[in-house]
């Protein structure tokens, strides 16, 4: 019979930032029962503290100050604790921390101050972190569900408000559908390779590439299905339909969080599956992966559609919904680049850098929208930012910084992200998609600049509501956006250590 593994073999120490938070989340779930309704700030504080501890641990592990555990594999290869996982952890935890900060007063404002919000947020964050660390397709699927289900609930958190309910319903049905695709994809990949372990898949694909046609097709369809499932999560065209509606209907604090977190998780999974697992899956002796063309085409369409449709939006939440679609396109460029032999690590680094930059910037954007939003969910039209520069100079300055960062103007984090993404495309000789990328950046400049001009060049009266935690969240986002832009060294040093645990 088989031996029962001891606790020591699991290498728990390497997974500590994640496992600690998992215990914390379960604990808070119970503790919250005993916290009276009018004192939910205790739950918020506890959650923030839990995230903080985990964030500090992740940062220490990312910078190499502490190296716990024995190697990069934990739980027998189901969990990979390499540099990429740490980077994903930091991005996810940072988003979660900012997510709690922007949520607390907002929930009061919309009369939904409930403890569930905070631990659901923790569980999603855990899902993101597990996704980045998954070394096995099964882990990947379970963590995807852990990421998604709390998000469905959070989107509907404003019930019985119709829009919020619609948003949750739409997200749930389409999301469940996408999960189905993913499971089927995983099954087919298993069928082709005989294993669900990513290392195993990587080893098997080399043989498949030079083997029988039928197995190739099996793997190809499996990869395609997986792409559909993950593409839905990151809102890539043509699986983006849900994004604007969900963003508009869901409570803004949820959108602030999920617009980043879902992308962090989705892209981490894409890097793991495509960048590492089947990176060497080539057809007919090509030097590039079989899925590369598909992904860069999707990237091109995503950038084009996201940016062009965003121009026509006048509702800020919708506008940034489309903008987030567009940014998924930029990151997909790097994923496509990972399909060229020798570029995989560079591409994974680019994704990590972009995600970090995007986390600061995009949460900041939605935090500003929260400050503009009124109790009845109105106030988030683009006209509401008119004259913001005179009534709230610092808020307008922060928003300007975020807009320039999303456009990709230097001295902001967004530029550093784009620089590395386009650089990986150049390394992989994907020049056409890089050209589309820069041209659509130009298109995006138009609608981002329009917000700046409404704030600075037009006159208007705007009321804002800026409680302290929200102000702090905006400050942190703005400082992060600026510092990472002025000192790109921080990002590049973090990324330089990233090598996918296998593949390459």
């Amino acid at each position: 019979m088989f031996e029962v593994p001891g606790l020591g073999d699991l290498n728990v120490a390497a997974t500590l930032p994640v496992t600690l938070l998992a215990f914390g989340a379960c604990l808070f779930l119970l503790v919250d029962l005993f916290i009276p309704k009018d004192r939910k700030y205790i739950t918020a504080w506890l959650t923030a503290a839990g995230i903080g501890v985990s964030l500090v641990l992740s940062l220490l592990m990312l910078t190499g100050v502490i190296t716990w555990g024995d190697g990069e594999e934990a739980f027998f290869g189901l969990f990979i604790a390499d540099q990429f996982s740490q980077a994903v952890n930091v991005a996810a935890l940072l988003t979660a921390l900012l997510g709690v900060m922007v949520a607390y007063n907002y929930l009061d404002k919309i009369d939904r101050q409930r403890g569930e919000y905070y631990y659901l947020l923790l569980f999603t964050t855990l899902g993101v972190m597990f996704m980045g660390a998954s070394g096995d397709l099964v882990t990947l699927f379970v963590s995807l569900e852990l990421l998604s289900i709390p998000l469905y609930i959070l989107s509907g958190f404003r019930w019985p408000h119709e829009e919020s309910e619609e948003s949750a319903m739409k997200y749930f049905i389409l999301g469940a559908f996408a999960s189905g695709f993913l499971v089927y994809g995983i099954a087919l990949i298993y069928g082709a390779t005989g294993t669900t372990s990513l290392t195993g898949i990587w080893e098997a694909t080399a043989d498949i590439s030079s083997g029988e046609t039928s197995t190739k097709f099996l793997l190809l369809i499996g990869a395609g299905m997986t792409l559909v499932g993950l593409g839905f999560k990151v809102a890539a065209v043509p699986f983006h339909m849900w994004t604007p509606d969900v963003y508009q209907g869901a409570p803004t604090s949820v959108v602030a969080y999920m617009s980043v977190a879902a992308k962090v998780g989705g892209f981490a999974a894409l890097v793991r599956v495509f960048g590492a697992g089947i990176s060497n899956f080539a057809l007919d002796g090509d030097t590039t992966a079989a899925w590369q063309d598909t992904i860069w085409l999707i990237a091109a369409f995503t950038m084009i559609l996201g940016n062009f449709v965003a121009i026509a939006q006048s509702e800020l939440k919708r506008l940034f919904g489309y903008s987030s679609i567009a940014h998924a396109g930029y990151m997909l460029i790097a994923i496509a680049a990972a399909g060229s032999a020798g570029v995989t690590d560079e591409a994974a680094r680019a994704v990590a850098i972009y995600l970090m930059a995007y986390a600061f910037t995009n949460v900041g954007v939605f935090a500003v929208i929260i400050a503009l939003e009124k109790k009845d969910m109105s106030g988030t039209s683009i006209d509401n930012v008119k004259g913001l520069a005179t009534s709230q100079p610092l808020l307008a300055a922060a928003m300007t910084l975020f807009m320039f960062s999303l456009t990709g103007i230097p001295l902001t984090a967004g530029f550093v992200g784009k620089w590395f993404v386009f650089k990986s495309a150049m390394s992989a000789d994907l020049i056409p998609v890089a050209v589309i990328g820069v041209l659509t950046s130009l298109v995006s400049a138009f609608y981002y600049l329009r917000i700046v001009w409404y704030m600075y060049f037009e006159e208007g009266e705007t009321e804002t509501d800026l409680p302290r935690p929200l102000a702090w969240a905006i400050t942190i986002s703005a400082v992060g956006t600026l510092v990472l832009g002025v000192v790109p060294y921080l990002l590049s040093e973090m990324a330089n250590e990233i090598t996918l645990a296998f593949g390459g």
Partner: protein
């Protein structure tokens, strides 16, 4: 050393934001910062070694690096960039002084952007690493966007957005070219890339060289602006506040021509040779077109704006003559144009502040009302049209000399360009005639006050430089000789070797 000069405006800006409290303090603080920057930049001229063709006063350290690439903080100046740095530090105090009265709303923000602008422009001229260069190149857009958009005239928003998008469109393709080049070379530092090209460690095909030339070239051509990519310029110049126009015409446009000299010629010599006739043709079209359209304007600011297209055509012609006198003349003409056209915008600004109109028809006989002002205006107008003895003449003459003796472009371009000199006289004198000469027949013009001390302080330095460069141009050429000689030799060697 170069770092000190270009960081001063930023330091001044931060201190201003922290320390200054009232509008008056913002103004004086900014002015002081820009004057100090100018004074310190004079040290660059003093410490400059004219015999050296290489970079001087270099500051360099590793900034960002990773597997297979390195980005450095690498700044320095050489015989070409020194005069553009000087031009920037010279123009800025004048631009700032000229806005003391004109800018009355959101004063703090205005001066913040002015100093940010100076910082970014100086950064462009001293950066020797492609990443660093691109950073500053793009950052210059941001303060100018706000300067036009907040303090501009009626159509300011349209002009600001057009300016931003138009220039960004060009630079994005340059970004890709930079990335490609840096990936191949493993470094983004220009001197190191050039070294690799010379030793043959970095080779690219003729076709690739041409693509890269175009990717860089379009970004620069939009900035210059070369015909037919000029349509952002009249809008931006006309709508910008006076100081904004001065900076745009005085310095910002030079970033384009400077880019050609700094990057296109040395990095892609073979492609430069190939494209030289086409660019020269566009330059000549620009010279004549700009002059022609200038003549048709009713608005003084528009007239000056279109004249820039014409003048910058000369600069482009000089650069793509690909010989010493062409390039040296072009670099000097960049400085000349900055001074004269900057001066012209200041002159127009003086009238605009008094009458709030820039239409020539609203004036006439101004000489009788404002004699001192009109005298100053006359010298600047003459300098702009290239009267011998003043600065414009030296530059244009050297350029034409270079173009006539060039192997790269046909001699045909020279007489056509010379036609532009005549046309310049036509539109400039037409403007002078309508505005300053004739009868003082408009009632509201009769009581216009002449220049006050502040305006005089902004204009007199320009007069001085007009004369100094006009009479002592040799001093300025001396600084460039070594560098330009080296550049021209490298180009011909490279072309001979077929790269």
């Amino acid at each position: 050393m170069a770092t000190v000069v270009f960081m001063l405006p930023l330091v001044g800006m931060v201190l201003m934001l922290i320390l200054a409290r009232s509008d008056q303090q913002y103004r004086w603080w900014t002015l002081t910062t820009s004057i100090v920057t100018f004074a310190v930049s004079l040290l660059l001229v003093r410490g400059f070694d004219k015999t050296s063709a290489g970079l001087q006063m270099v500051d360099q350290f590793d900034w960002i690096s990773g597997e297979g690439f390195s980005i450095q903080y690498y700044v320095g100046i050489d015989g070409i960039s020194i005069w553009l740095v000087m031009l920037t530090t010279f123009i800025m105090p004048l631009a700032i002084l000229s806005s003391f009265k004109a800018i009355q709303k959101r004063v703090k923000l205005y001066y913040m952007f002015m100093l940010l602008m100076e910082w970014a422009m100086l950064g462009v001229f001293v950066a020797q690493d492609l990443f660093l260069f691109y950073v500053f190149w793009e950052v210059t857009l941001v303060p100018m966007y706000f300067l036009i958009g907040i303090w501009g005239a009626e159509q300011r928003i349209y002009a600001a957005v057009k300016f931003f998008l138009y220039t960004m469109a060009g630079s994005l393709l340059m970004l890709l070219a930079i990335l490609w080049l840096g990936n191949e070379a493993g470094t983004f530092a220009v001197p190191e890339i050039l070294e690799q090209l010379k030793t043959g460690d970095l080779v690219f095909s003729t076709a690739t060289g041409r693509w890269l030339f175009l990717a860089f070239g379009i970004a620069f051509a939009i900035k210059v602006p070369m015909w037919p990519l000029h349509s952002w310029l009249p809008d931006a110049h006309v709508q910008a506040p006076t100081a904004g126009s001065v900076i745009l015409a005085g310095v910002l446009l030079k970033m384009g021509t400077y880019g050609f000299v700094r990057f296109n010629l040395p990095l892609f010599p073979a492609a430069s040779e190939t494209f030289a006739p086409y660019i020269a043709a566009l330059a000549v079209i620009g010279i004549i077109y700009g002059a022609w359209v200038s003549y048709g304007q009713k608005d003084m600011k528009k007239l000056v704006a279109y004249s820039s297209i014409s003048h910058l055509g000369f600069v482009m012609l000089g650069i793509f003559a690909l010989n010493s006198s062409g390039i040296e003349g072009a670099v000097l003409q960049m400085v000349n144009h900055g001074i004269s056209t900057g001066g012209l915008f200041l002159v127009v600004g003086v009238l605009y502040e008094r009458r709030h109109t820039k239409l020539m028809a609203a004036f006439g006989g101004i000489w009788q009302a404002m004699p001192l002002y009109s005298g100053v205006a006359l010298v600047i107008v003459l300098s702009s049209m290239g009267l011998p003895g003043l600065n414009g003449f030296v530059g244009e003459f050297t350029i034409l000399l270079g173009a006539a003796g060039s192997d790269a472009i046909s001699w045909w371009f020279t007489p056509l360009a010379a036609l532009g000199v005549i046309l310049a006289a036509v539109y400039m004198l037409y403007m002078f005639n309508t505005v300053f000469m004739g009868e003082l027949d408009k009632e509201e013009n009769k009581r216009l006050p002449d220049l006050d001390w502040r305006e005089l302080y902004a204009l007199v330095p320009i007069l001085i430089m007009v004369l100094v460069i006009g009479l002592q141009a040799g001093y300025f050429f001396e600084f460039m000789d070594a560098k330009v000689g080296d550049l021209v030799r490298d180009i011909s060697l490279a072309v001979a070797a077929g790269r």
